[in-house]
């Protein structure tokens, strides 16, 4: 296996981009990343695109070819392009497939992208498409929604560990605090614990400000063998680990409702591959589709003891400047959550941080960063570790 580096990155603006199409945002991200890497089209060997539900959100399948075509990579040079799907972990998984293809030696320069266009349909239709990431036959048919599933995780966490609504709200407050400094973020307004608790209840105990929004956006990175990365950039960011794990599709089949065993397993595999421990990680982008998800994530990845995710958040340990900054980008909550793009966007944030280009949200001296991308209520988890040093 060859070492792999990221040599170019780009996020589009995240938000309600009604004036722009699916292909518009993908092309912007892809071309941006390729320009950042200083790569020409003929050099690109392959492309992997994370997309959850193009068929439902924009009634378009065959996303791989569509993107290759509109990026100018189909005609004449016929770059192979593959769509990757794992619900909200589609982006992370596309990145992982790209890393595989470079690491294997089959391909040299590879684009890993993720995209979703969610606001072209009314929000009930968007929610229904998202519900397809859970078990439609045995959860969806009973009236389960994604906020509902995570609300049941939250309820159990509160019951077992005494986690409070205020602690959940604190996750949203922190992530909005970070997101206001991110130029691509959907929501740049700071919020307060009080405003979270006063916002309408979606699925008790989760308020609407505990939930990530419906978002359009795309992200892309360019991968290269580590040996040649310096030919393209002075600041290649090295992939130290890529890990993935599966769990039951339905929440009701889990060993412990408050633990995403797929996150634990993917985290463990990533730490082993990188020969690192949680204390070696300087910052992490976790999958905060709901506030409780961030609390579970920091526990599952070893940044907080089981049951203490709420307290750790309340104490400010996960803020920028804290012990382990979590979601410096603003996370899914403030930055927005274009489901297929999120896993790649997390990597873009870590790369910008490790390059020292994150502006007001910069984590001082960041050397090693982690991303954690979850599909559904935890049936897929993808974890990556990146480093400035090879």
């Amino acid at each position: 296996m060859r070492d792999v580096a990221i040599i170019g990155v780009k996020n589009t603006k995240f938000g309600e981009l009604w004036d722009r199409s699916f292909r518009d945002v993908v092309v912007e991200a892809g071309v941006g990343a390729v320009s950042d890497a200083g790569v020409v089209g003929e050099k690109i060997d392959a492309m992997f695109v994370g997309n959850m539900s193009g068929g439902q959100f924009v009634e378009q399948e065959h996303i791989g070819a569509l993107i290759a075509d509109y990026s100018g990579l189909a005609k004449d040079i016929h770059v192979p392009s593959t769509r990757v799907e794992a619900a909200c972990a589609s982006g992370g998984l596309a990145l992982r497939q790209g890393i595989y293809s470079v690491a294997s030696g089959m391909d040299d320069i590879v684009i890993a992208a993720g995209a979703e266009k969610m606001t072209d349909v009314p929000s009930p239709k968007a929610s229904s498409a998202l519900a397809a990431a859970a078990d439609r036959e045995w959860e969806g048919i009973m009236g389960a929604t994604f906020p509902g599933l995570y609300a049941m995780i939250a309820r159990m966490h509160m019951h077992k560990y005494g986690t409070t609504s205020e602690q959940l709200a604190q996750v949203a407050v922190k992530n909005h605090q970070n997101g206001q400094h991110n130029p691509i973020a959907q929501y740049k307004s700071p919020i307060t614990v009080e405003s979270v608790l006063k916002s309408i209840m979606v699925a008790d105990p989760l308020h609407i400000f505990d939930c990530s929004p419906i978002t359009d956006g795309a992200s892309a990175v360019v991968l290269a063998p580590a040996d040649v990365a310096h030919e393209y950039t002075d600041t290649p960011i090295y992939v130290k680990a890529t890990a993935q794990a599966s769990d039951t599709i339905a929440l009701h089949d889990r060993r412990d409702i408050t633990t995403l065993d797929a996150s634990v397993a993917a985290g463990k595999r990533a730490y082993e591959m990188a020969k690192m421990q949680p204390k070696d990680i300087n910052l992490v982008e976790v999958h905060d589709c709901f506030t409780i998800a961030e609390i579970c994530a920091i526990e599952d990845l070893g940044f907080a003891k089981k049951g203490e995710g709420g307290i750790v958040t309340q104490n400010g340990e996960t803020a920028i400047g804290g012990r382990i900054p979590v979601n410096t980008s603003g996370g899914l909550k403030s930055c927005g959550h274009p489901v297929g793009a999120t896993g790649v966007k997390q990597a873009v944030e870590i790369v910008e941080q490790l390059r020292g280009e994150a502006g007001k949200r910069q984590v001082d001296g960041a050397e090693v960063g982690m991303t954690h991308n979850v599909g559904g209520s935890g049936a897929t988890a993808v974890v990556h570790i990146f480093s400035r040093n090879r």
């Binding site: 009930p124 239709k125 929610s127 229904s128 519900a131 439609r136 036959e137 045995w138 959860e139 969806g140 048919i141 009973m142 009236g143 389960a144 929604t145 906020p147 509902g148 609300a151 049941m152 995780i153 309820r155 159990m156 019951h159 309408i200 209840m201 979606v202 699925a203 008790d204 105990p205 989760l206 609407i208 339905a250 929440l251 009701h252 089949d253 409702i257």
Partner: protein
């Protein structure tokens, strides 16, 4: 959900019929064709659950799933059956009465309908086992 997709599991939904692995003595609801523990070594047979169970966790849904708008707010929970498996179902009771650990029993109810003129889905919901049940 399409008619055949629902119909295939109609008996399981109506009667709370799941499966049991004779080899490892694990019970499954929803039913599984293959035991996830024994895999190909397993011996799967149908099993009808009594439906007695308790609430593992729950939520009160205020923003409904598509097709459930007229039921809002509704209580959705994970129920652990006495034989071991857990399932997701609505719990029919006042939202303020539901508690983790509450004993429940199954009832046959309408789950929903496929559009205005479509098929009606029936299946199993749960009610509190104690006195509140009589009011539901």
């Amino acid at each position: 959900m399409s008619v055949p997709r629902f119909w295939r599991k109609q008996i399981a939904r109506y009667n709370l019929v799941g499966t049991h692995c004779k080899k490892c003595d694990d019970y499954f609801y929803p039913p599984r064709n293959m035991c996830p523990a024994c895999r190909r070594e397993g011996e799967i047979e149908d099993y009808k659950f009594s439906g007695k169970g308790e609430v593992v966790t729950f939520t009160v849904i205020h923003t409904a799933a598509e097709g459930f708008e007229n039921q809002t707010p509704y209580v959705l929970g994970i129920i652990k059956l006495e034989e071991g498996p857990s399932l997701t179902s609505q719990i029919i009771c006042d939202a303020k009465d539901v508690k983790i650990g509450m004993k429940v029993k199954p009832v046959f109810r309408k789950l929903g309908q496929a559009g205005e003129r479509g098929m009606i889905y029936y299946g199993t919901k749960f009610v509190p086992e104690l006195e509140v049940a009589d009011k539901c």
